[in-house]
Symmetry: C4
Subunit: 236 residues, 4 copies
Amino acid sequence: MSSAETSDALVISSDPLHPANLIPELCRSFYKLGWVTGTGGGICIRVGDKVFIAPSGVQKERIEPIHIFVLPYPQVAPSPHTDRVFLRRPAMNLKESACTPLFWNSFDLRNAGSCIHTHSQHAVMATLLWDGPVFTISHQEMIKGVRIAGTGAALSYLDTLELPIIENTPNEEDLKDSMAEAMVKYPNAAGVLVRRHGVYVWGTDWEKAKTQTECLDYLFEIGVKMKLAGVPTVLN
Amino acid sequence: MSSAETSDALVISSDPLHPANLIPELCRSFYKLGWVTGTGGGICIRVGDKVFIAPSGVQKERIEPIHIFVLPYPQVAPSPHTDRVFLRRPAMNLKESACTPLFWNSFDLRNAGSCIHTHSQHAVMATLLWDGPVFTISHQEMIKGVRIAGTGAALSYLDTLELPIIENTPNEEDLKDSMAEAMVKYPNAAGVLVRRHGVYVWGTDWEKAKTQTECLDYLFEIGVKMKLAGVPTVLN
Amino acid sequence: MSSAETSDALVISSDPLHPANLIPELCRSFYKLGWVTGTGGGICIRVGDKVFIAPSGVQKERIEPIHIFVLPYPQVAPSPHTDRVFLRRPAMNLKESACTPLFWNSFDLRNAGSCIHTHSQHAVMATLLWDGPVFTISHQEMIKGVRIAGTGAALSYLDTLELPIIENTPNEEDLKDSMAEAMVKYPNAAGVLVRRHGVYVWGTDWEKAKTQTECLDYLFEIGVKMKLAGVPTVLN
Amino acid sequence: MSSAETSDALVISSDPLHPANLIPELCRSFYKLGWVTGTGGGICIRVGDKVFIAPSGVQKERIEPIHIFVLPYPQVAPSPHTDRVFLRRPAMNLKESACTPLFWNSFDLRNAGSCIHTHSQHAVMATLLWDGPVFTISHQEMIKGVRIAGTGAALSYLDTLELPIIENTPNEEDLKDSMAEAMVKYPNAAGVLVRRHGVYVWGTDWEKAKTQTECLDYLFEIGVKMKLAGVPTVLN
């Protein structure tokens, strides 16, 4: 690792809206929502050609700016012959989030500026009660807070929200291809559910990724409540 | 926009009870209650001839006083020929809350000093399990925290609480007429539920609007629990 | 009101454990637990011959020390011919908590040093699912956190917890006699449930009142969950 | 008690990661999760030959560093003829946590560096709905956050998580032998559930004990939800 790579310059800022400050703050907030307990889940932020990503396997509510990785964008996926490229790595024994290739899908396929991954139980319960390949719900005001493809125009109250559900894999990285396939097959979806695991949601920036994750999590939660109460979740 | 309109004088105050300070604080608190996630919901405060309103489509838990709109009261509803009038607008690319015409109903029809809109799941579940035009519950202590018409005397424990439920519309503004009709038809109701959407609650001031919203949200929540448990929600 | 009665000396202290500081702090904490929303519920603390009580009908999470009433103990119950006696009243248009006569029961009949009243939905749901005159649960570790009569020795894991349930009345003050009767009839109970309303719990001091309220609220919550899941709540 | 034993030197530190600072901070956080209400539950931390333990029967969210006990490790279990040995005791009328012998099991049998005990309702409900001697769940991403034996390698998504359930006893100390037996019988388990009581979870350090407790609590919660919704909790 070069000394440049361990420099703190890319992650130390007095601006509370700097990605390296936002990621720790948002992760603390997500922890309180039950989205990132037990080291799971997280958020990445891309600003132009720089991607800010949290470490893997750490308590997400205790991340500090100096723990943040910075990667150049674009770059080809790492392979047996090529390593992932970094602009900055923490000077500790840390590894970048295992979600990195999944976050990359949102950049490559949707030009997203931020992607959030949660282990919310509402998302997981939705994948258990909707046992097919897609979660659907209609006629809920919160649908209006979700955008077409996550980065387009807002959905209407009259639109039926559809979110693909992919099957989980033992290694998080191995979700990359099936997530990409689902994004191609469901070009209007603002996220991808992973059965028995959680959800990925993206947006053009961190605000839109966060508010859409909130709307979708709300829809998973109320969808599950409705289904358990015997209320239809899609109206014709 | 005139320079007067962008002045901060109407929204900058060292008094924590100034409406432009209260709205951000209360929205942070409402966010923790799950009432205003995903940019939805909010609160407006009217002090005499001035109405303080938050922007539309922003994270409600991150509003700052400088984001607040100030409107003169009374004023006629905007039409294709007349624009809404402002005393102060944020010097940013923001739009006033889409709830503005609904909040106005509470001023015009009830002389309210504050109106709260939530997307609480308890409210939405209540509108799904009470599928007629009104939510009713009786014999709950928290009914005593709700006032006749939202601005009158407190209800008694022996009163049956009734809250009209109106049908949702694709555009929030289009709820104005049906909400007003419901307020005329149910003159004693302290709020109006919107099916698959949320609730509007008002009071003579922000304290009474807030505490009544808390009482009603409690009643929606326990009403839903009772109904799902097979316990009657209205006693004779 | 004499000037002595409006003096702040009895409620202003730099000691965070002074009752006039504790009551606001604890009420903020109870608000987060859903025990005192909508102005309902609260806590009183008695230190020897002085009783500290919050006002009625105010937002409990926003109480300040200067809002606290101080009453001498003992004193006879107010009647048409005698008023309640105060050592200190807030210099505002406030009334002492409507729970005052109920709190007094805990002092007179149990020599309690603190009494807590909540509108917790777990308590209310327990009074709906246990439709007789008593809530019972056995074989739960948290029973050990409750004391005989609220002020005696701790219950054992092998004891069945019994808490009387009285019927609600339109005026909170009118619960005084039926609460006292229940306390006589169930001399070992650490609290009294009020159907469709909430619970009163007391202890020798504020810590023991608070921790017992936590244990009982836990038992109401898990008792309701067990009953809804078809799990017996009392073992032989 | 010698003066050395009441010295504050072992528990006063400006390092926020010192065990005597961490225990109070973590207990406040656990309180918000509902794990340690009513004085129940807690966490101990062992650093080499020193064990830091909270007092018994106190409000866990209000512990201060000066309340912490420090014990030498290893030491033989106290008996009618030998007392427990301390390096430091609070200069107050406090007793060490009743969980001490249970925490000791995790040190002696797993070489743990930290052990957490919660009264989480999710744990208790799991022991009621899994009425045999073991809680099992499979095919949940959060299983990957749990380690073999609590201190070994991480489980795979394809592993079925198994946690033994022992029967509760009136005195917490009396769980020592049955907990130790369960740890021998289930050598891969990262914790032990206690029916109608809660759970013990350990790890090589406080971070791993905490994140594993979060993962297990998540699995108890979603397992209970799945069972109540009729969804199988173990797949073949």
